[in-house]
């Protein structure tokens, strides 16, 4: 039993990532309302960002900011890996940009069809 427990505890952050990916992907595919799909899309993207950050995490290391010129010599093991943080600044900005464009398109769909429910829109399209 403790083998399983230690197994789960050793990588718990990755289970959170997998759970959030499943939630986000399910919402994007199965939700009927377009705004809910956009929320699912954003959850899916932040889950991948969490995955990258948990790659860079180091036990017993401090935040990736040194102490300036006169500080103690810099050792690689003392600081958290800064590279995933840089990559994820880009991913957050990309997720906001995609959110903005998706909401703009959702407003255009609402202006065109008067509703954001997927099934109502398809019934209107079939009537045309």
């Amino acid at each position: 039993m403790d083998a399983l427990l230690s197994f789960v505890i050793a990588k718990y952050n990755y289970w959170v990532v997998v759970l959030l990916i499943m939630i986000g992907l399910y919402a994007m595919i199965a939700k009927n309302n377009l705004v809910k799909k956009i929320i699912g899309m954003n959850i899916f993207q932040t889950a991948i960002i969490l995955f990258y950050i948990s790659i860079g995490a180091k036990k017993g290391a401090t935040i990736p900011i040194t102490f300036g010129e006169h500080g103690p010599p810099v050792a690689a093991a003392d600081f958290i890996n800064p590279l995933p943080h840089v990559l994820m600044l880009t991913a957050i900005v990309v997720s906001v940009a995609t959110l903005g464009v998706a909401l703009a398109l959702a407003l255009k769909v609402f202006r065109q069809y008067g509703t954001l429910e997927e099934d109502d829109i398809h019934s209107q399209i079939r009537k045309e």
Binding site: I21, L25, M28, L34, K37, M41, F44, Q45, I48, F51, Y52, I55, L83, P84, L87, T90, A91, V94, A97, T98, V101, A102, A104, L105, A106, K108, V109, Q112, Y113, I121, I125
Partner: protein
């Protein structure tokens, strides 16, 4: 200045896109010439780069002056040299044709349209040239965001199909990002050459296989391989016709180039074709994509939807050709990227001109089009024949390489699918030619005869690029022999025999 070309190809159009967006607020007339000059300059740089690659081998460029594993590096070699030229050429030709329809449909947002147009080209050119896995994701996002905006701008259903394209595109890009994250987890680096050096020791690791599957799935969603193609027909059919004729030829082809780059250079050919064990399954998926794409194109009532399904079938050609794994098939796949981009441009541009003049593209309204728009229909026939694969035009030669690759690999299902799809293409195009040839039937009451429709052709500004594209199909057909021998032959690593 020439040694800065790899960076200038991407930074030049980026700066131009920004200046065009700003110029849009002062005088709208200046936007089109600025965009035209930028793309012409980019085309000239791409040709210069490809010639330099052919003469003196591949070129490396370190961004920010840092060596590859630490900084971002750009690399132009045989594989992406030819794709660069095609992307720049298609973007330039399509831009020439876009002036009239932009002036009519979205005159007051012309600055934004041309800026998005040039930024889309920047994203694609950057994706083709980059040698850094994460930089490719960022450029993929620029190309996707501009594509969402350009495709979502039409009237009617385009907003909804644009939104579906946003969801599928984000899932695809995020899968690719997750795949790169897995690679980074086990190798610790992002530069493609560095990854390729460190991966062989880890092939037994399950994470590497899952990274490969995730990257490939993300790219299959972005290139609309059959089971994941739902978004493409609606997105391209309902879009403004000039946006569709820009995005249809380019997005799927650059995604295929990225698949080949990852399959050959990131993961070695031995991993892609033997260790991963996906190759046979992928060829059968491609066979289904070819057959189903072509058959679905038969049932379409609108011209642009039919062409969109033909694009889905063409993606099946190239995926099948690549995953067969022998030299002839991979050469065919790469040559087909070049040829299919030009063919799709020619056919979509002709459809754009038809929609520009008739404002509709239902088959029933295309009657008597040969008399009304002879030049457009002539170019459409040339594009159609090339897609079917008639010898002097370029479509035949790449299909020939694919079929010979299929025969060498002994995969007769793939060869049969290619032949069946060519047959169905023939049926599709001759049906339209037949509709276009006969005069509109006299009205239901049967006795009033309107005079044979006088010729009201699309404006000259749209016809010249269309005829240039049709002419290029012939030029590519004639030179496809030495394109394959002098350029593509060096692009494929020796491991593939």
């Amino acid at each position: 200045m020439t040694e800065h070309f790899p960076a200038l190809i991407v930074v030049g159009p980026l700066l131009a896109g920004l200046l065009i967006a700003a110029a849009g607020w002062f005088n709208r007339k200046a936007c089109f010439p600025m965009a035209g000059l930028t793309l012409l300059w980019v085309l000239w740089m791409c040709i210069g780069l490809t010639l330099r690659v052919v003469t003196s081998g591949s070129i490396d460029y370190h961004l920010g002056g840092w060596a590859p594993p630490w900084g971002i590096a750009y690399r132009v070699d045989f594989l992406n040299g030819i794709v660069l030229v095609v992307v720049a050429l298609v973007a330039f030709l399509n831009l020439l044709a876009s002036w009239n329809s932009v002036e009519r449909e979205m005159a007051d947002k012309a600055g934004a349209f041309y800026s998005l147009y040039v930024l889309f080209t920047t994203g694609l050119l950057g994706m083709v040239v980059t040698a850094d896995a994460f930089n490719l994701y960022v450029l993929l996002e620029i190309a996707s965001l501009t594509a969402y905006a350009l495709l979502g701008m039409g009237d009617g259903r385009s907003a909804l199909s644009g939104l579906h394209y946003v969801f599928m595109g984000t899932i695809g890009a995020s899968f690719y990002l997750l795949g790169v994250g897995y690679i980074y987890l086990v190798t610790g680096t992002l530069n493609m050459a560095d990854i390729a050096a460190r991966l062989p020791a880890l092939y037994s690791n399950g994470t590497v296989l899952l990274a490969f599957i995730l990257c490939m799935t993300g790219l299959f969603i972005k290139m609309a391989l059959l089971p994941l193609h739902m978004w493409l027909p609606n997105a391209y059919a309902n879009a403004p016709s000039l946006s569709a004729s820009l995005i249809a030829p380019l997005t799927t082809k650059v995604m295929l180039y990225v698949m080949i780059r990852i399959g050959l250079n990131l993961f070695s050919p031995s991993f892609t074709f033997e260790i991963s064990g996906l190759a046979p399954a992928m060829v059968w998926v491609a066979v289904i994509a070819i057959v189903a794409g072509s058959v679905m194109a038969l049932f379409q009532k609108r011209l642009k939807r039919m062409l969109a399904y033909i694009v889905v079938a063409e993606v099946g050609y190239m995926v099948g050709g690549f995953w067969l794994g022998n030299r002839a098939a991979v050469t065919g796949a790469i040559l087909h990227i070049v040829n299919d981009a030009m063919m799709t441009l020619c056919v979509f541009l002709a459809a754009a001109l038809i929609v520009h003049r008739l404002r509709t593209d239902n088959f029933s309204d295309l009657k008597g089009l040969f008399r009304k728009m002879p030049f457009t229909m002539a170019a459409f026939v040339v594009g159609g024949l090339s897609i079917i694969g008639v010898p002097p035009l370029c479509g035949f030669f790449s299909k020939w390489y694919l079929i010979s690759g299929g025969i060498i690999a002994g995969h007769y299902g793939f060869v049969a699918a290619l032949l069946l799809s060519s047959l169905i293409n023939a049926v599709l195009f001759f049906r339209i030619i037949e509709i276009g040839y006969f005069e509109p039937l006299p009205g239901s009451d049967g006795h009033h005869h309107e005079p044979p429709a006088k010729m009201d052709e699309a404006p000259l500004g749209m016809l010249v690029p269309l005829w240039a594209a049709a002419g290029l199909l012939l030029v590519l057909g004639v030179y496809s022999g030495d394109i394959a021998t002098r350029i593509i032959q060096f692009a494929i690593p020796e491991a593939i025999l």
